[in-house]
């Protein structure tokens, strides 16, 4: 089942009154893939991502995530995805462990499974000894890494990352991407939006949205070849201008 498709989007249209935010999107994402979702601000990325997460329903078109239609089976979809955004990582006035326990219960993990997996993930981050510290005492980089850990705590089939590395230093970004790769190796599909073009290079495949349409969708190498440029940055500029 190498080519199992965990996200299928066909002719997705989303309109807000007269304004069309998504004008007929078509793409799919394979299991275990790291899928980069790029686009200028206002290109319609966030709208599409909200629809994929079941936060908003499409005007028309078919959207299937983790094998379920988001329009009719949003609840099933929600159980099988993880989500993390730059804006909010974790509850600051709760400790690391309390945050993890809260989200594990919300995602329906049983206690023993949580203890085992939670401890394992925290030890990997070398945060297990500090698990009773308030999240507010952590630096932004640590918070983001921890937030990612929490997002994959319940072993979702897909994790959505909305600009996860915004405002984070290059070393932490590097470590963050190592975590992403590890998750992907364990079969978790990663759907990531970013404004950093070097990060786009790390993705298996990349889409670039312009004005509500998908103008390019391929591996970074092929995109560079197609537009005859040396970096994803130039691909982006060629398209989004």
């Amino acid at each position: 089942m190498e080519n199992e498709q965990v996200i299928i989007v066909r002719d997705l249209v989303k309109k807000f009154g007269d304004f069309t935010a998504n004008a007929g999107l078509n793409f799919h994402v394979d299991k275990g893939e790291i899928f980069g979702f790029l686009g200028a601000n206002g290109a319609g990325k966030t709208t599409a991502m909200r629809i994929l997460c079941g936060l908003s329903s499409p005007t028309s078109g078919l959207v299937e995530v983790a094998g379920y239609n988001v329009k009719t089976h949003a609840e099933e979809v929600k159980k099988r995805i993880g989500y993390m955004s730059q804006k909010f990582s974790l509850f600051e006035d709760l400790t690391i462990w309390e945050n993890m326990r809260f989200f594990s219960t919300v995602y329906g993990m049983n206690k023993t499974a949580f203890k085992e997996r939670g401890e394992m993930l925290l030890r990997k981050l070398e945060l297990f000894e500090k698990r009773n510290r308030l999240v507010s005492t952590l630096s932004l980089g640590w918070k983001q890494k921890l937030a990612f850990t929490v997002a994959i705590l319940h072993e979702p089939s897909i994790v959505f990352l909305d600009e996860p590395t915004g405002g984070v230093d290059p070393i932490t970004r590097r470590q963050f991407w190592e975590m992403i790769y590890e998750a992907a190796d364990n079969g978790i599909t990663v759907f990531v939006t970013t404004h950093y073009m070097d990060e786009a290079e790390y993705c298996n495949r990349v889409t670039i949205m312009v004005d509500g349409r998908i103008d390019a969708l391929d591996t970074p190498a092929k995109l560079k070849e197609k537009y005859q440029v040396n970096s994803m940055n130039d691909v982006f500029l060629a398209l989004a201008r």
Binding site: L55, S56, Y83, S85, F88, F91, F102, V106, G108
Partner: protein, 364 residues
Amino acid sequence: MNRFLAFVKKEFLHIFRDVRTMMILFIMPIAQILIFGFAITTEIKNASIAILDKSKDEVTRELTQKLLASDYYTVSDYLSSEAEIESSFTKGRNKMVVVYEPQFAQNYEKNGVAKVQLLCDASDPNTARILSQYATGIFASYGEMAQSNGIQAEVRMYYNENLDGFYMSIPGIMAMILMLVSAMMTSISITREKELGSMEVLLISPLKPIQIIFGKVTPYILMAIVNILSILALSYWVFNVPVKGSMALLLFECILFTVLALSLGILISTVAKNQMVAMFMSLFALMLPVILLSGFIFPIDNMPLVLQWLSNIIPPKWFIIIVKTIMLKGGGLAHVWKETLILVAFIVVFVGLSVKKFNVRLQD
């Protein structure tokens, strides 16, 4: 259910770890009760007065004694001439000067009429009115005893025999605190979640919106109940305000009002974009009307007609009527069913509007 409990637990942790929230939830209600009970009282004790006795006979002395025998006055000065009156107001803290006319006892015995003048410092009109009324009463009763003719009016103040100002403010304070704790705190805590972006994370999670809302509201219902009990306990043991009616009914009405305030808080949070807006909306949309228009401080019957109409859409007005009826008059559900239904109607409207707003937002 586990999800819901985990959510409620998280909310409690938020509350217990935030010193300011804790202060608002627990210290403020008690402080307000004590302040209203002890400081803002409409009755007067030991107001200092001055006496200008131009007659100095046994009748004036007896009258002065009678004034002092009440708890209302203490004499700070005995004046010797009218010239000193003005300065006794400005220099001293005298609230009233009592002036007996010359040959007071003689006039009284001969003509049955003697004149006493009460000069009050009306820069504080309420105090002035009350002080002069008390004194007039004392003089009148002396006159009646002496000659027992004319019409005697016997006045009894029902439901609040001593005319304690505090009786009047207890229901109002309860309305205010419940509004504050329930409406303001929930609207702030929901908008905080929106502002931080955690609301999005929660909505994406398998938690249902209804679980999120109820999870937000549950801790505040419990807090409100704690507050209700502490207010009642304080007013009973510290200020001796009795609960004449059924305690169960009173608690039921309080919880009903709490639910109303919570639904209002939810409504505010669906409209407000951030915590600041939520707080200002709660303060201006809730606190001011509660204080000004609910009949808490200013009697509704004395308001202009337009404001009287307006007061009908202020929920605390009905709550205050209910609490007064149950606590002070000992009324039962038969006496307050109409007001109770009005509260229920408010809840239905607020919840309906919130659900509508919430659904509109999810559509986007």
